[in-house]
């Protein structure tokens, strides 16, 4: 019958509205729970946002469950017909549709035959708003970056620093400055630091790397210093050999013997570390030296020339090593573009010195060589030996210092800095760490994790305020 069909349609509408209402409310609750769980999981587990999106599938289950609940909220057919009767003002005729004699009355009342179905309305504004807020909440929970967990559990990328140190370590190993076991030990330490580097406590990693870098630099500095000393010794030996070769016969035998002893001393020193194998001399020269015990009478000018050449080669070898260290950034003044040069000592001047001085030992000769070498200081006649010129003082106008590119600082450039993340906690001083000094970093602990806590005294506030409020940056 038409009444039953209308009632069935209307009950279907009720079910749909009830399902929609429950689905919205259930979705609000589920979405809020989903968002909270997502927040907690993202805090605890890194890179969990991707699979947390699958939590949205739970909404399907919620909608299915509310469909079953909504079916239980649908009025019965008798209740629906009672509503139709009331809304169509049929006075009970629709409620007794199955009673004998109702057909006659249905013919008289159109509403009893085809009742007008009342319309349903759902005041779902608050629920819709709550759903929108819940959706925004879960999206925020999913998409907002989590700086704490990201820094806590993410790895710290120190590969670039380790690569630089590895390169330096290779140079030290290649130049035989570090023994292979020691170099391997440092390499293993770097590898271990790189593997264990974590973002939650980067200071430990950087401190360990700084320690290794300091160790490498210390070895390089010591090697460079020793190489420089050997170069001086080799330069002295070269100059002495040349001087003896050219004018050794002019020296008294006693002086010549001292000079030869000094030459032997310098040669022995110059052939030592940092080259592990020592200096290799030509076979004839080496045999002569071994037989003569550096007796001048046993070394002819040719041998002395070979000895001078050997010392020159030794200098070149040491210079090459120093240049390698400088290229790797491990020498003082590296990166300035300055080219190192071999010491140039005039043999004639050295011969004059040998003839004039009373003592000729190794240290004295080296000091003499330094004084002879141009621009290397030492004992010489100095500026006072220059002629005194009495005239007007030279003008400073137009005079300027030659620009010189300063080496990069340890802090590097800002572009080399790495964003490790933001710490959630307050900075803490590291116990035992040395504090910085000077300027705004006074009392700031080294190694990171420290805050600038310089107190601006009241009498300085005016100056500080003027500094930050200055209009011209050059002021």
């Amino acid at each position: 019958m038409e009444q039953q069909a209308a009632a069935k349609r209307w009950r279907g509408d009720v079910w749909r509205w009830a399902w929609l209402r429950l689905a919205v409310r259930g979705s609000v609750v589920y979405t809020l729970v989903w968002g909270v769980v997502a927040l907690v999981v993202r805090v605890l587990i890194e890179d969990s946002a991707a699979w947390l999106w699958w939590g949205g599938l739970g909404l399907i289950g919620v909608w299915g469950a509310v469909a079953w609940v909504a079916r239980r909220q649908v009025p019965s057919e008798a209740q629906t017909l009672a509503l139709f009767d009331r809304e169509n003002r049929l006075g009970g005729l629709l409620m007794v549709g199955d009673v004998e004699g109702a057909e006659a009355w249905a013919k008289r009342a159109a509403g009893a035959r085809v009742p007008v179905e009342p319309r349903l309305r759902w005041r779902g504004g608050p629920s819709g708003g709550a759903l929108a807020l819940a959706t925004a909440f879960v999206l925020a929970a999913m998409l907002v970056p989590m700086p704490g967990p990201a820094a806590a559990d993410s790895r710290l990328d120190v590969s670039r620093s380790i690569a630089e140190m590895q390169q330096r370590l290779d140079v030290l190993k290649e130049e035989k400055i570090l023994e292979a076991p020691e170099a391997d030990q440092v390499r293993d330490a770097m590898k271990r630091i790189g593997e264990q580097a974590k973002g939650d406590d980067p200071s430990k990693t950087w401190e360990a790397l700084d320690h290794l870098a300091e160790k490498i630099e210390q070895a390089a500095d010591e090697a460079a210093e020793l190489a420089q000393r050997r170069m001086d010794e080799a330069a002295g030996a070269e100059a002495l050999a040349k001087a003896l070769g050219e004018g050794g016969d002019t020296l008294s035998p006693e002086r010549l013997g001292e000079a030869m002893s000094t030459l032997a001393e310098l040669m022995e020193a110059a052939s030592g570390a940092p080259t592990l194998d020592g200096m290799e001399l030509p076979e004839g020269l080496a045999e002569a030296l071994s037989q003569s015990g550096l007796d001048a009478s046993m070394l002819d000018p040719e041998m002395l020339k070979q000895l001078a050449d050997a010392m020159e080669g030794r200098q070149a070898e040491l210079l090459e090593m120093i240049e390698s260290l400088c290229e790797a950034g491990m020498c003082e003044g590296s990166g300035t573009g300055k080219k190192l040069r071999l010491a140039e000592i005039d043999p004639d001047e050295l011969l004059d010195w040998l003839e004039s001085t009373g003592e000729c030992d190794g240290e004295g000769l080296l000091v003499a060589c330094k004084s002879i070498r141009a621009g290397r200081g030492g004992i010489n006649r100095g500026p006072g030996h220059a002629e005194m010129v009495w005239q007007d003082p030279s003008s400073k106008e137009g005079v300027e210092f030659a620009p010189e590119l300063l080496p990069p600082s340890r802090m590097r450039d800002l572009r080399d800095s790495q964003m490790l993340g933001a710490s959630r906690g307050a900075p803490q001083d590291i116990e035992g760490a040395a504090g910085s000094s000077g300027g705004a970093l006074t009392h700031t602990a080294a190694g990171g994790g420290s805050a600038v806590n310089t107190v601006v005294l009241p009498r300085h506030r005016g100056a500080v305020t003027r500094y930050f409020e200055r209009t011209n940056a050059d002021e």
């Binding site: 909504a70 909220q73 009025p75 008798a78 629906t80 006075g91 009970g92 007794v96 006659a104 779902g124």
Partner: protein, 351 residues
């Protein structure tokens, strides 16, 4: 073999139409005699059709007696009127046995029937009689029979009591107990006529004399009227609505009672109220020309069935809340169809 209950069969339009015509004519005549009280006339006739007693409350001179007297005359029913006074005795109403000497000189006790042996009894100012007299008459109202001197006598069929009481001048009165008030189907308030009605009365009634009604309802017609009443069908949802209304009048019923009941009602209506509401709703449906009772029929009679059955609390008097206000709130709070739609989902009004 005859079943215990015949399956219900609706009155056909042809079967119902004579009853509708008859009631329409009765109401028209009542309206012609007592001006400006059409609603009251429908409720009184509905009460009569429901075979219930009616308590009329109104100021003196508003036409209570005229209404009842006219109704009796129209329906060819016997009519008696008793003016209740404090010294009125039960025997003055019910009747008594008197010693009477017959023609043969024998003396014997003979029952002298009181005015209650009639079809329509107007108990004027019933609250002025003593409780003993009130109780005697109200027993007869319920049982529809009188026991005097150990002998029980049935009252006339039909029997209606239309009592009246004055809402003012309460000194020396005996308010009806709740148990006795409960036996009245309706408690109707007879309103004062408005200016237009008063003007019409002055124009058409010389010395206030109403036109004499002509009796036209025969005994068979009256029997047919009551027979039609018996076949008015009360649908199940409507019956449940009546039951829910009456149950909701009890403030102890936490789930069903609306707030206004919980706040202002101390005692609710009895099951007799539900029966009275169903019967009177049937009568209203008959007057409306329908074979079935609708929700609107129940709502039409509910205030008059319930208003004298609700015992209001002191806060109701303090807040000037009447029983009609409570019943109005009750009807507004209870959904007739009992849909129990989910919150937020509602049926658009007037759809």
């Amino acid at each position: 073999m005859t079943p215990d209950h015949d399956p219900p069969r609706l009155l056909s339009p042809d079967e119902l139409q004579p009853a509708v015509d008859l009631t329409g004519r009765i109401l028209a005549d009542l309206d012609a005699v007592l001006l400006g009280q059409q609603g009251l006339h429908r409720l009184v006739l509905a009460g009569v059709l429901a075979r219930g007693h009616i308590l009329l409350e109104g100021m003196p001179g508003v036409g209570k007696t005229v209404l009842i007297k006219t109704l009796g005359q129209l329906m060819s029913l016997q009519f008696n009127r008793v003016q209740f006074t404090p010294d009125l005795m039960p025997s003055d109403i019910l009747g008594t046995t008197i010693l009477q000497q017959s023609g043969d000189g024998q003396r014997r006790m003979v029952f002298q029937a009181g005015p209650i042996f009639t079809n329509i009894l107007l108990a004027d100012e019933i609250n002025r009689a003593s409780p003993k007299t009130q109780a005697a008459m109200l027993e007869a109202m319920q049982e529809r029979r009188v026991t005097v001197g150990g002998e029980t006598r049935a009252l006339s069929e039909p029997f209606f009591v239309l009592a009246s009481q004055n809402p003012i001048d309460l000194e020396g009165t005996y308010p009806l107990p709740e148990a006795q008030v409960d036996r009245f189907l309706f408690k109707l308030h007879v309103e004062q006529p408005n200016v237009d009605v008063l003007e019409k009365i002055l124009d058409t009634r010389r010395r206030g004399e109403a036109p004499a009604p002509q009796a036209f309802v025969t005994e068979d017609q009256l029997r047919g009227l009551f027979g039609a009443m018996e076949r008015i069908v009360l649908p199940g949802p409507v019956g449940r609505y009546i039951a829910r209304l009456v149950a909701a009048t009890h403030p102890v019923n936490d789930t069903a009672a609306p707030d206004i009941v919980k706040q202002y009602v101390t005692h609710g209506a009895s099951p007799r109220a539900a029966i009275a509401m169903a019967e009177s709703a049937r009568a209203v449906a008959l007057l409306n020309g329908r074979p079935t009772v609708g929700f609107e029929d129940v709502n039409a009679v509910a205030p008059h069935v319930l208003n004298h059955r609700l015992i209001l609390s002191y806060p109701a008097r303090f807040d000037k809340i009447s029983a009609h206000d409570v019943v109005g709130g009750l009807i507004a709070a209870i959904d007739e169809a009992d849909l129990n739609l989910p919150s937020g989902i509602e049926v658009e009004a007037g759809a």
